[in-house]
Amino acid sequence: MDKNIRAYICTGCGIGEALDIEALSEVVSGEMSTECKTHEALCSAAGRAMIDGDINEGVNTVVIGACSPRVMQDEFNFGDDKISVRANLRENVVWCAGEDADAEYVQEQAADYMRMACTQADKTELPEAFQLESINKRILVMGGGIAGLTAALEAADAGYEVEIVEKSDALGGKAVNWRKQLPTRAPWNDLEEPSIGDLIKQVESHSNIVVKTGTEVARISGEPGEYLATFKASGTKSEWDAPAKVGVDEQDLIDKGEMEDPNAGLQHYMAANEAGEKFGSVVLATGWIPADVSGYEHLGHGKIANVVTNAQFEAMASKGKITRPSDGKPVESVAFIQSPGGEEDDKDFPYCNSVTSLVALKQAMFVREDNPEAKAYVLYQHMRTPGQMELFYKTAQNDDGIFLTKATVTGVEDKGDGSLMVAARNTLLNEDLLLDVDMVVLAAGMVPTTHDEATINLAYRQGPAFLDLELFDGYADSNFICFPYETRRTGVYACGGVRKATTMEETVDDATGAALKAIQCIESVDRGVAVHPRSGDKTYPEFFFQRCTQCKRCTEECPFGALDDDEKGTPKPNYTRCRRCGTCMGACPERIIGFKDYNVDMIGSMIKAIEVPDDDDDKLRILALVCENDAYPALDMAAMRRHKLNNLVRFISVRCLGSVNMVWIKDALSSGMDGVVLLGCKFGDDYQCHFVKGSELADRRMENIGETLGSLGLEPERVAVRQVAITDYDTIPEVINEFVEEIIELGPNPFKGF
């Protein structure tokens, strides 16, 4: 595209009063050789009309010096064939200047933002969407329980072809063994007859749904829009089983014969099975398995016949009147133990949550249903009945024969005749209790199937499983709060027990959400745009493979496993797996990866466009590379609250700290800037990174660059990473100030002026 760039400076919202607009226009028209116009309200109809007029005369690239790029996006969108770049004069300069700001400093700031925006406009190209050669729109649903059946039905009703793969011989999952189910509708009081039979019938009679029972997924290769799934009979082995990850070092050892090949006898992960079936996206609804509670000696599970788990109890209850396993005596009293007690004290059984609480109440009702004189004790440390389920709790509580108390259970003892004695302390009755019961039911939690097995069985270079699930105790999820259903693998959406311990009602919601996500994925792929979180983004990483050294950093570091290896060992991008975070671009030492509107050269040039005074010890220049998802909005919000931000700092927004290439740091320091700070999301256990690993990777890379700086005689402290949450708008000025103080302490960059 032949660019015809024009810049516009808005003087509204206080910009005109705070800045010398004439001088600023001269920077643009002189230094940056770009024609510049001003207007008192660019976002108004008149302002837009002015720009539209210029566009009609041939302007196709517009630089807007006004408010934050996060606002007025529609007003300053001039169509897909025009480039629109923003300079954030309002939030990043004027509103955060503070009352006592030195006008000279503020003017320099504004000039730098205009220089950067003009540079950015110069370096930005129009994106062209990536299109797969062919796309398959069928949805694969793994698991035929409530979650899988609901997801299948929702997707099928929306007009998509669905295939359900169920490991066992029948549909229905856990629900087919329930006597009754928790309430799913007002007044939320009564147990309901299981609805699973209905659901199965609807699925089986749906013309868009194919069901395969007794079947497992051996492997899924390919990418969203053209997944290739290989199935096998449950419990069997196949040459198409998903291969384990073999890294470069391991492959070396295998080649030397020093290590056994874990994938011996299996097809290579890049091999395509001619007999496989094609799908567009996958819903993972493989559910959960009851946790093992036999490890608690004092509770006697596995040793005492009449101590069972809630899952075992449900199975007994579904078969008829509940009787003691030891001698078949109808039960007159049952203790439901929700927490192991003993030395664990306040802890619950592993993988317990509200569902186990509710199930205990439900099963207590079974006991009462079978015998109106029977007693059910529920001993808990935490009774969790969220939302409308509080009404269900009230119903259970109101039953004459259901007795609830917080308690630390200290032991279960067999009295010899089959009946049991439960001992508990710290009860609400303010006494240590001894209860005579016929049976004890332990609350075994719901362990997601992804806890112990790969389950999804992807044939990806990064291995068959989701990564880092230990952060979520094995639950298949990438960012629970912000992006439900999404996993670390684009195109695979989790719902039900594999995602979270859910009640039936929650599972139905979940499954519907996951089905919608699966559809969104297919349709986004069809249009050639990113699925999420950068939904609709047409750009994608482009590789200049001639210069690739096959170092595989991009392949290893991609949080979403988008890159495989081709036959020669060169990275093979799978664009529809990609989320456009740019982590590969940040990783690449050869700097051969970039997007049309976001690349190493573009940001590097913007950094170099910042004017660094080389003869003034007070006018230090500090570069802040800011994550656009959390830290940048926090800066905007700080400015909206008129918090003062240090005016020695220049902010550049990046897609993710993971996309920060080390060369930018070098660019900044070699152009005489005195420090570089990276503002990104929290990482670790409760990470907030949209792209899971970005800020963590950036942190690691900065440690490495610290050493390089040291060897050049620069203090490693000149470069730092700070973790900022989107809610940190009140503290972010201080975070920045502290860093600036540190740099002032260190003094100006010794290379300044060279």
Binding site: D400, G401, R425, L429, L433
Partner: protein, 405 residues
Amino acid sequence: MAEGVRVEPDLNFIKFLKKAGGDSMKKCFQCATCSVVCPLSSDNKPFPRKEMIWAQWGLKDKLVADPDIMLCHQCGDCTAYCPRGAKPGDVLGAIRAYAYTHYGFPSGLAKLASNGRNLPILILLPVIIIGLLWLISGGAHIPDAETMRTVGFGHFFGHWEFPWLAKNVAFIDAIFLPAVAFSVFAAYKGVKSMWDAMVEQVAPESDFRPSARQFLVDYLYPSVVEILTHKRFNECGANKDRVKGHLPLLLSFIALFAVTNYGFIRKDIIGIFNPAMHGPIPLYDPFKILANVAAVALLVGMAIIWANRSRLEEEQGAGRTFYDWFLIGEIVTVGVTGFGAEIVRLLGIPSLAYFLYFIHLVSVFMLFFYMPYTKFAHMVYRTFAMAFERFRDSNFVNPAVTDDE
């Protein structure tokens, strides 16, 4: 085996409480708001929170031996502030109703008197006794207005005269003295059981017990004074107005008790020597004036109590129970028929006067005969529970000097 209290919930007890006004008790989720607002609660005994869970768990032995149950005078603060609508005040009322039945002697009569379904029997019993005696006394006819003006109800049971006692007085005594004596004995038995059960809870192995004088002077007397002054009633938050009903009622009962004794001495004792004393007490007699003032106080007190109770049920959703309304009904009947009979007598309508008088006798009989088993029993149980509270705080239960010191 681990230490602890063996717990066995009593489902029948739970059913009883739910029927007797405690239908909301299972709603309690132990937040202790009630204990925060209750003036009876202390740090060590979160009253009535612990009673609520005991009730939920059907632990009746613990509850009936808990003096706090009796000390509660249902001010209603807990019910007003309960975030869950568990109405602890009503639950405690139901527990008291259960306790009166539990300790009631003989237990058959106690059970009979605690159930609303038995109301016809409860009424029929005195109707038959008094009616039968009326028939066999020979007085079973309505006098003319002239006779009524001179002798009042003096010929109700006939006018044949023993040498020393009017036949009428003899019949009255024959009915009411045994009834009251029985009731007092039954109350004694009940209170004794309660006291023993309470001692068992706080000091099961104590070798010490107070002397009769200590008991009377240190425990019982201050309790009676406290009752008369309505000290705790005045601490009420939610139902401060109740003292306006209960105090006149209590004072009128004391006054009427005094008047009855005066009448007994005048008619039954002095009357032996001076038959002229047998007639109606003249209206100018100071005791008669007191009686009439007391009757008005009783009716005013009952009107206030009736209104308060209705308001409690409407506004705070308190349960409408036999336990509460039986006593209100009894006292109102006693007051209305007693005062009514006097007025109708003075107006000179013998048939109506006789009818009202008959009902009056029946209701008075019911009030006192069933006293140990109905809400009226609070008169004795609460008084002794208050005495027990003082005993519990004394050195008999909490030795000031221990072996360690």
